[in-house]
Amino acid sequence: MNRRPLLAVTAAVLLLLAAVIAAFAIGRYPIAPGDLVALAWAKLTGGAHGLPPTAETVLFQIRGPRVVAALMVGAALAAAGAAYQNLFRNPLVSPDILGVSAGAALGAALGIFLSLDLWWIQGLAFAWGLGAVAAVYLIGQAVKGHDPILVLILAGVVIGALLGSVLALLKYLADPYNQLPAITFWLLGSLAATNLADIATTLAPVLLGLIPLWLLRWRMNLMALGDEEAKALGVNVVRVRLTVIAAATLMTAAVVSISGIVGWIGLLVPHFARLLAGPNFARLLPVSVLLGAAFLLLVDTLARTMARIEVPLGVLTAFIGTPFFIWLLAAARRSWQ
């Protein structure tokens, strides 16, 4: 048997640990790794750590929730991306490209606009995200005679643009003193405002999405063969596809509603996970989850430390993602075939 997947998982776990330590240690109030251990130990055992109380506050009240949120958001976006890529047999699709992010963004902005609570914002994000991916997929099915992958991507662009203009209308109508800054700030993507309650609310839908993906991990490989072959091999293609789309969209929408729009992770991370672990979804999914969590945590650490003000997350991931996507278009697709 191949040793590569084991190495990939080990590498991903090590990277994740390094990212977590870095995220807790680095910041305006630096905490040495040794002190981190002391603080964690004191918290677990209830003993004294002998460090200033500020350190404890920074670690558990400020950085803790943010680290957990970054891990969860990164993991969910990467897992959803891996699922979409297998399902649509295309290493170039991701929640962003299929319009899920744009739909979820509009749904969530609508929630903010209507001053709804987080549950409703998540629900609207999910409904709109699902609607967007359904529209993109139906256009892809309806338009025949072109490269289906191209049609899918262009349909995603078109639907994304349409949703974007509705979003612009919403911003135009929003209260410029209260709602508009909230929507704008949120659209740029940030984890600065996350608290433990938000995380708890979001964890359930993320797990609800992740579990069917894991259960269907072997079937997902067959979905990558295309509808007809998967059917010929005995797969109920429609049922699996609907389940996976619903699961991946649920995860995306849930995390988008706490982090705002953080693009590119669903495209970038599954791609690297596939390079590391191979295409088998049973390995691709866990490696994507680990790498996604690590990647977003590193980016978020960068976002809050690289300048005197916070750099929006979505801006950072776009700076990393755009050149990567161009490279992928130019070179990598060949290597898949």
Partner: protein, 259 residues
């Protein structure tokens, strides 16, 4: 198990490709489907497998009508070897063959030890064990075709439907695939395959079906169906059928002449 096709009409929504096709295939039998490019061979196969809905008539596997069978139930009796293509993620050949086990597993199950053993046997039957760890997207077209046949065998089907299994192969691999087909039929599989080469029908087929403009114009043993007249009808060119001495017996071959 017997495959029966009764007065089948097939095609895509808004586009009828063929109609009135009736044929039956018994265990151990090899049937060759001949017909021109775009003549509906692939569409007919997909309809027989239930991958696209029939527009009329009926397909039966044994006594069971296809229309009332679940996807997995169809896949347990009928294996499909599509035309080889490359559009996969880079799975290993073994993983591709293992996918043939899907019909025997529940939706949330992963293949176990027994499934791996069956996949290994399928590779051995086709003689491509050495390719097990190769990447499917990086092997030759002939090897991919062999891998797809192995995958269909891993389904443990009773009937094998092969869409131009020799189309992308060099001459040596064509002969190798035909040899496998004959061995599999002797082992009790019913096999229906399409081909562009009527000589292959003389080599492996017990019966020949000729599809022309969506209907079966000939159905019967190769010697009776493959004639200069039927070849002219189906392909529109002059082809002589001559008998030659080969391998200690006599065999027919098709000899085209340029006009």
């Amino acid at each position: 198990m017997k495959l029966s096709v009764l007065d089948l009409a097939f095609g895509y929504p808004g586009k009828r490709v063929g109609a009135g096709v009736s044929l039956a295939l018994d265990a151990g039998e090899v049937m060759c489907l001949l017909g021109p490019n775009g003549g509906g061979k692939t569409t007919l196969f997909k309809t027989i497998l239930g991958l696209i809905p029939a527009q009329g008539g009926e397909v039966r596997y044994g006594d069971a009508p296809l229309a009332r069978m679940a996807r997995a139930a169809v896949a347990r009796v009928a294996g499909y070897v599509p035309q080889a293509h490359t559009g996969y993620f880079p799975f290993s050949v073994f993983d591709v063959v293992l996918m043939g086990r899907a019909a025997h597993l529940g939706p949330f199950a992963s293949p176990g030890k027994r499934d791996r053993e069956i996949a290994r046997q399928a590779l051995a039957t086709i003689g491509i064990e050495r390719l097990a760890d190769s990447v499917y997207t990086r092997i030759s077209g002939g090897e991919r075709q062999m891998a797809l046949i192995a995958r269909a065998l891993a389904q443990e089907p009773r009937i094998l439907v092969m869409d131009e299994p020799t189309a992308s192969l060099d001459f040596g691999n064509q002969v190798r695939v035909l040899e496998r087909i004959r061995l599999l039929a002797r082992a009790g599989l019913a096999i229906v395959l399409s081909t562009h080469d009527p000589d292959q029908a003389f080599l492996v087929a017990d019966r020949v079906a000729m599809l022309h403009q969506g209907t079966l114009v000939r159905l019967g043993p190769p010697a009776e169906t493959i004639t200069p007249e039927s070849l002219k009808l189906v392909y529109g060119v002059d082809i002589a059928v001559v008998e030659i001495a080969a391998g200690g017996g006599k065999r027919r071959v098709c000899v085209p002449s340029l006009g």
